[in-house]
């Protein structure tokens, strides 16, 4: 091993140990007693700061370092949709977050699966949604594993092989999340956010100065030599025009507020106002997303000719090329944690959904949160291990599934958001809409018709989904449900629902 490899690997290894220790320390004094809600949603006790750290941690994944820089390198402007949809989604989270939070707290719910089961009064609906959501989430776990793999292998100067790096991603994440759940993820997010903000802030200043003698010359060259990167449809015939940008950002902004990992963050709040404050503060984090995109554009000058998966490493090529080994190690840790934190929360919500809504439907576990928690913990390990094994053996299966992940999850929006706000949406309406939208997404994406007519296929499917849901609700069968509206629907909790009588006291 070269000196560089030794230094960078040592830095990386040290931080990975620190990550597991930090994740495990989080659970001190909270662990044994709390049951499923303590583990899944941090006992509903997190304040504004921890929510911010956690949700920023979830949103800023390995995609931000790899995909964002890669898209910036290959195409330019279209990648900005990430910023657009996160900002819009965080803003409407101001309303949606407190609604879901109050609903879950009032009825003792832990994620979207038991929310729909409660709303439509059908436990099997929760089971169905849990299975569908898992199919959409598993590819994300794999994306984090492979993302961390290429980062670790690059920043260790090849000393850690891809296959070992995949395993480390799985082992470190499982190492803390099984025991300490969401609280552990929040603690690790603190380390992650500090490193991400520091390293990206540094790179944003350093790279233009190092390679271009400052921002002025860098931007001038960009405008003069790469204008086709700077507007839609971007460089290289991506087919991603303004119509695609608008529909994708709109669709994703609705999806992100019901995404199971986001909902886990909402439900962990101590009170509704923590979520409202968070909706104000979270969009600031998006400023950081401009950095990897700009660095991807910079890499188009410095290391031209990267193709395929290689372009995802655009940012790290610059880092390894221009910085000493210890700094490469630290930046690699920040990127690795950007895989680990989201992966931990993905695994956690899969465990939560199965523990409550799939295994929870088994008679021996029904109504027993004390037994549902260990069941959920087993599912966490199984889901992580499954994603790891598929990464080794069938990498393409999950890559294909990942194409429908977000657009597929989007088809749950009417069932959840519309359903919780509007009583007349019936079970059969919501289900028919989901079936129609889901089928259309699969049909279009797997036949390479996304975007279709310049529009995001998932957005088109969502329109069909809503139309079918409304039609069937109007003219279809009307299930009998005698419960009053305020038992079934979600409403904004208002100011008085702050620190409630059922609150689990104590800080994080």
């Amino acid at each position: 091993m070269s000196t560089n490899a030794t230094v960078a690997t040592a830095v990386f290894g040290g931080f990975m140990v620190l990550t597991v220790v930090l994740g495990l320390l989080a659970v001190r004094g909270h662990g044994r007693t709390g049951g499923l809600a303590e583990w899944s949603v941090g006992g509903r006790s997190l304040g504004t700061v921890f929510i911010w750290v956690l949700m920023a941690g979830e949103g800023y994944t390995s995609f931000s370092y790899l995909g964002a820089a890669g898209w910036g390198y290959n195409h330019g402007a279209p990648v900005l949709y990430v910023i657009a949809y996160l900002s819009c989604g965080y803003a409407i989270g101001y309303v949606v977050g407190p609604m879901l939070w109050a609903y879950a707290r009032r009825h003792g719910l832990v994620n979207i699966t038991d929310m729909v089961a409660h709303r439509y009064d059908r436990p099997w609906l929760g089971t169905l949604v849990a299975v569908l959501a898992t199919v959409c989430l598993l590819p994300y776990i794999q994306l984090q594993i492979t993302g961390m793999g290429v980062v670790v292998s690059t920043i260790s100067y090849g000393a850690i092989s891809l296959n070992w790096a995949y395993f480390i991603a799985f082992a470190v994440t499982t190492g803390f999340v099984v025991v300490s759940g969401l609280r552990g993820s929040a603690w690790v997010s603190v380390l992650k956010d500090v490193l991400v903000i520091a390293t990206l802030g540094f790179l944003a200043l350093y790279v233009p100065v190092h390679y271009f003698d400052g921002y002025g010359p860098f931007l001038d060259r960009l405008v003069a030599e790469k204008p086709d990167w700077l507007t839609f449809t971007g460089h290289g015939g991506s087919g991603l025009g303004a119509g695609w940008f608008v529909t994708t950002s709109f669709l994703n902004s609705l999806t992100v507020v019901i995404f199971p990992t986001t909902v886990a963050g909402y439900l962990s709040a101590r009170n509704a106002d923590a979520l409202r404050r968070n909706a104000m503060l979270l969009p600031f984090y998006n400023v950081l997303l401009f950095v990897p995109m700009l660095l991807g554009l910079a890499a188009a000058f410095v290391v031209p000719g990267l193709t395929g998966a290689g372009s995802n490493l655009a940012l790290f090529k610059l880092v390894v090329d221009s910085l000493p080994a210890w700094a490469v190690g630290v930046i690699g840790v920040a990127a690795a944690l950007s895989s680990i934190v989201p992966m931990a929360v993905f695994m956690l919500v899969i465990g939560t959904m199965w523990g409550k809504s799939v295994l929870g439907a088994v008679p021996a576990l029904a109504g027993r949160p004390d037994r549902q928690k260990p069941a959920a913990q087993v599912v966490v390990v199984v889901s992580g291990a499954l994603a790891l094994v598929l990464t080794y053996t069938e990498p393409n299966t999950l890559v294909r599934l990942s194409l429908i992940s977000y657009e597929g999850m989007a088809q749950l929006v009417p069932m959840i958001l519309l359903g919780l706000a509007w009583r007349r949406l019936t079970l059969w309406g919501a289900l028919s809409g989901l079936a129609a939208g889901g089928a259309l997404v699969c049909g279009l994406v797997f036949t390479d018709h996304d975007p279709v007519w310049g529009v995001n296929a998932g957005a088109l499917a969502l329109a069909v989904n809503v139309a079918v849901a409304l039609a069937v609700s109007w003219w279809g069968p009307q299930p009998v449900d005698a419960r009053p509206d305020d038992e079934v629907l979600a409403a904004d909790p208002g100011p008085e629902a702050a620190p409630g009588k059922t609150a689990v006291s104590g800080s994080v």
Binding site: A84, S87, A91, V95, L219, F245, R277, P283, N286
Partner: protein
């Protein structure tokens, strides 16, 4: 809900800035502080989004909510 809380309309501001205004902002020139116009516009939108949510929050607060 919007009748009682018209301040929540501020939450739609990001949709206006990022999406509705996009056809006007999709251009390289004029550059602002060297930034291509589209990037400048989206950066501005990113900085204005928290302000819009703040205005929604302030409206709630005045009404004794939040």
């Amino acid at each position: 809900m919007l009748k009682k809380r018209p301040n929540l309309l501020w939450l739609l501001a990001p949709y206006g800035l990022y999406l509705a205004a996009l056809p006007l902002a999709d251009r390289v020139h004029p550059t602002v502080l060297g930034l291509p116009f589209l990037f400048f516009w989206l950066l501005l939108a990113t900085l204005l989004t928290p302000a819009a949510v703040f205005l929604a929050w302030r409206g709630d607060r005045k009404r004794g909510r939040a």
